[in-house]
Structure formats: structure tokens, C-alpha cells
């Protein structure tokens, strides 16, 4: 009886110890891996932002990472400062003339927040481009907003926008091709663009 109780105590202590040790080993392994890759991940994320800003200003041309970084430094000025940019002023890298103002936008999609960059030309109304940075839309449906035909259709258009079915390839200045099967995501994009246009004209 006595022994049984003590055995039980030891068993319990071992259980606690086991879980503790297991947690410690695995969590430290994972943390080590996280720390080791953190810089790579952060650098890649920064690269995405730079690419997205340039793409929204219509300056994307299949450059490698170094090319993007150089072009970004030459053409883009975060405003009001680099730490917490509210918008990016983009100049033409050759002439130095103002080319676009790029706005980072975050808006709710179907599943989660969608983050995008939207470029407006010097007139403050004509789009120079849109690039999607981050989203959690359904793969194969809403996630197709990152496909080049969708992202590429905005340059030269001006709102307020209407959606037309995918495949229309509309040339009208106020029409956007929606993504089939992703009406909520498409509407969210349209509403975000219209809201930005309203803000700018006020």
C-alpha cells in the first residue's frame, strides 16, 4: 500500500518531468531554427514589399533581387519617413519626374486581411498599378488575385470601378475583370480601390 502510493508519486513526477523535458527539447530546437532563418525570412519579406511598391508604380520589369533593390533606392522615397511609411513617392528613375504615389492598403477579404499596394499617377486618380502583398484567400479562387492578368489590368484605369466577368478583358477605363468563383474577394478589391479614390479627391 505504502509502496503503491510512493510508486504513484514517482510516476506522476516522471510524467511531469517527461512532458517538461520533451517541451524544452522541441521548443528550443524550433526556436533555434526560427532564429537561424529569421533574417532570411525578413529579407525576403522586405524584397516583396519593394517589388510590390515598384510594381504598383508600373516599374516592374523582371529584375533580380539586386536590381530591384537598386531601382527601389533610386526611384522610391517613403513618406513621411522610412520607419512608418504612409505612402511612397515614386519618381521616374531616368528623368526624375514624379511618376506615382504608392499607397499600402490593408482590407478584409473573404478569409483574412489582404495587404496590397496601389499606385496612383500624378493626377491623383489614374491607377498606375496594383500589387497584392499578402492574403489568405482560397487557393485557386480568391488567391488568383495575384495572377498576372489580374494584377496587370489596373494600369491606366480610373474609378469608380465596376466589376465585369472574368475573361472580358475589358478595355473600358472603369471596368475590372473579376475572378470567377471569388466574388467576395473581387468586390473587396473593387471597394478598396473606390475608397482610395474617394479619399484622394476629398
Amino acid at each position: 500500500m505504502e509502496k503503491g502510493v510512493r510508486g504513484k508519486m514517482r510516476e506522476r513526477a516522471f510524467t511531469v518531468f517527461f512532458m517538461f523535458a520533451l517541451t524544452l527539447v522541441f521548443v528550443s530546437a524550433v526556436s533555434a531554427l526560427h532564429l537561424a532563418t529569421r533574417d532570411t525570412v525578413a529579407r525576403k519579406a522586405g524584397m516583396y514589399l519593394k517589388r510590390a511598391v515598384l510594381a504598383a508604380a508600373g516599374l516592374d520589369g523582371g529584375l533580380d533581387d539586386a536590381g530591384v533593390a537598386a531601382l527601389y533606392d533610386a526611384a522610391v522615397t517613403p513618406e513621411p519617413d522610412a520607419a512608418r511609411p504612409a505612402r511612397y513617392a515614386v519618381r521616374d528613375p531616368d528623368t526624375g519626374a514624379p511618376r506615382a504615389t504608392v499607397f499600402p492598403r490593408a482590407f478584409p477579404g473573404l478569409w483574412g486581411t489582404i495587404r496590397a499596394t496601389v499606385g496612383l499617377g500624378p493626377d491623383g486618380a489614374t491607377l498606375t498599378g496594383v500589387a497584392f502583398l499578402e492574403h489568405n484567400e482560397t487557393p485557386g479562387l480568391g488567391a488568383r488575385v495575384t495572377e498576372s492578368w489580374f494584377e496587370g489590368q489596373f494600369a491606366g484605369k480610373r474609378g469608380p470601378f465596376r466589376l465585369v466577368p472574368e475573361g472580358t478583358r475589358s478595355a473600358a477605363v472603369d471596368e475590372i475583370d473579376a475572378v470567377t468563383g471569388a466574388s467576395i474577394t473581387s468586390r473587396a478589391v473593387r471597394d478598396m480601390l473606390n475608397a482610395l479614390a474617394r479619399e484622394q479627391t476629398q
Binding site: 510516476e11 516522471f14 510524467t15 517527461f18 512532458m19 520533451l22 517541451t23 522541441f26 521548443v27 530546437a29 524550433v30 531554427l33 526560427h34 532563418t37 532570411t40 525570412v41 525576403k44 519579406a45 516583396y48 478569409w111 483574412g112 499578402e134 492574403h135 489568405n136 482560397t138 487557393p139 485557386g140 479562387l141 488567391a143 470567377t180 468563383g181
Partner: protein, 210 residues
């Protein structure tokens, strides 16, 4: 003898004891990404990795593991491997990681991982457990890849992102949407059960027991 056994385990997991047909297990977390082939491949690789290593770890720890916290310990081990997959994806293939979003994390709750740990790794030595994990993972992946192939083909007219069906093809939007996966899996199971009557009978008995 050992190598013969491992071979048997491997073949069984892919064919006759295939987790999807024999038990219809674990389709939860991965079925959602089967509308695009490339995402499916990545998810499957992650799953095989997790399944193999968690089986190995659980098997290595099986004599030490107190029965009371068995589930907790298994879950912990599985979760760690999934985080490793997640971190690796973020660092090496950020594009795909962004596409898959939260689904990578859901590998943790994939019933196959837990199921193999409970059913096999807890009562077998590490090496066969590793083989069992790889086999179950590959068998599972095969099914999902076939489903993904047809869903992407019929739903978007593409394979691996490249257009194979011409402009004349009208996309079946339903295939990329949720119901498509259910129908596709059902039809697939139907065909396989029809083609392999023996496996069909075994599976029928299995589901009858539940």
C-alpha cells in the same frame, strides 16, 4: 528479414492499406488545397516529412512515454515538426507559403499523423515506424495528387499552372470550389473500390466497425 518487413509495410501503406481508401482518414486539412496541383505537392511533401519523423520520434520514445500524457506528447512532437515545415517554407519558398496560409499548420490535426503514431509507432521499433510513416504519407499523397490533377484540369483548364485545355474549354468553377473536392474524392473511391474488389471488401468491413 527486417528489410522484407519494411518493404511489406511500404507497399501496404501505398496500396491495400492506403489510409484514404481503407479508413477515409485525414482528408480534412489537405483536401482544401487540392484545387491547385502545385500547392498539393508542397502540402504532401510537408505531410510525408511530418508523418515520417513524428512516427520515428514517437517510436523512439515509446518505452519512456507515460500513458497518461501519451496524446499530449504525441501532439507536441507533431506540432514541432509542422512548425519546422512552416519555417522552412517561409524561408525557402515564400511564394508557396503565402498561398497555403494557415493550412500548413493544420497538418498537426491531420488524423493520419496521429493515427499512425497511435496505431503503429507506439508498438513498433523506430525503423519500421519510419517506413510506415513514409508509406502512409506517400499513399495518401498519391490520392490527393490525382484529385488535384483533375480538379485543376477541369476547374481551371491548367496543369501545374500551364494551360493545357484550349480556349474552347469552359472552366467548371464548381471543381475549384469546395463541393468539387467531395465529388471528386467520392468518384475516385468508387472507381478504386470497383477496380479492386478485395480492397473494397476490406474497406467495407472497416467502416462497418466504426
Amino acid at each position: 528479414m527486417t528489410s522484407g518487413r519494411i518493404k511489406r509495410i511500404m507497399l501496404g501503406g501505398i496500396g491495400r492499406d492506403n489510409p484514404v481508401f481503407a479508413q477515409v482518414l485525414g482528408i480534412c486539412s489537405t483536401l482544401a488545397v487540392t484545387n491547385v496541383l502545385r500547392n498539393t505537392v508542397v502540402m504532401c511533401l510537408g505531410l510525408v516529412f511530418t508523418l515520417a519523423l513524428s512516427n520515428l520520434t514517437v517510436s523512439a520514445l515509446r518505452r519512456l512515454m507515460p500513458a497518461r500524457v501519451r496524446m499530449m506528447a504525441e501532439v507536441l512532437v507533431i506540432a514541432c515538426y509542422v512548425i519546422i515545415v512552416d519555417i522552412a517554407l517561409k524561408a525557402l519558398a515564400p511564394d508557396i507559403s503565402r498561398q497555403l496560409g494557415p493550412y500548413v499548420g493544420l497538418i498537426i490535426t491531420n488524423c493520419i499523423v496521429m493515427g499512425r503514431a497511435e496505431a503503429f509507432a507506439l508498438s513498433n521499433p523506430p525503423l519500421p515506424s519510419l517506413a510506415d510513416g513514409v508509406a502512409a504519407g506517400i499513399g495518401y499523397s498519391c490520392v490527393l495528387l490525382v484529385i488535384a490533377f483533375f480538379r485543376e484540369l477541369l476547374g481551371s483548364g491548367t496543369v501545374w499552372g500551364a494551360r493545357v485545355l484550349g480556349e474552347w474549354w469552359t472552366n467548371w468553377a464548381i471543381m475549384v470550389m469546395a463541393p468539387g473536392a467531395f465529388f471528386m474524392l467520392a468518384v475516385f473511391i468508387w472507381i478504386v473500390k470497383g477496380a479492386i474488389p478485395r480492397a473494397g471488401n476490406a474497406a467495407g468491413k472497416e467502416s462497418g466497425k466504426q
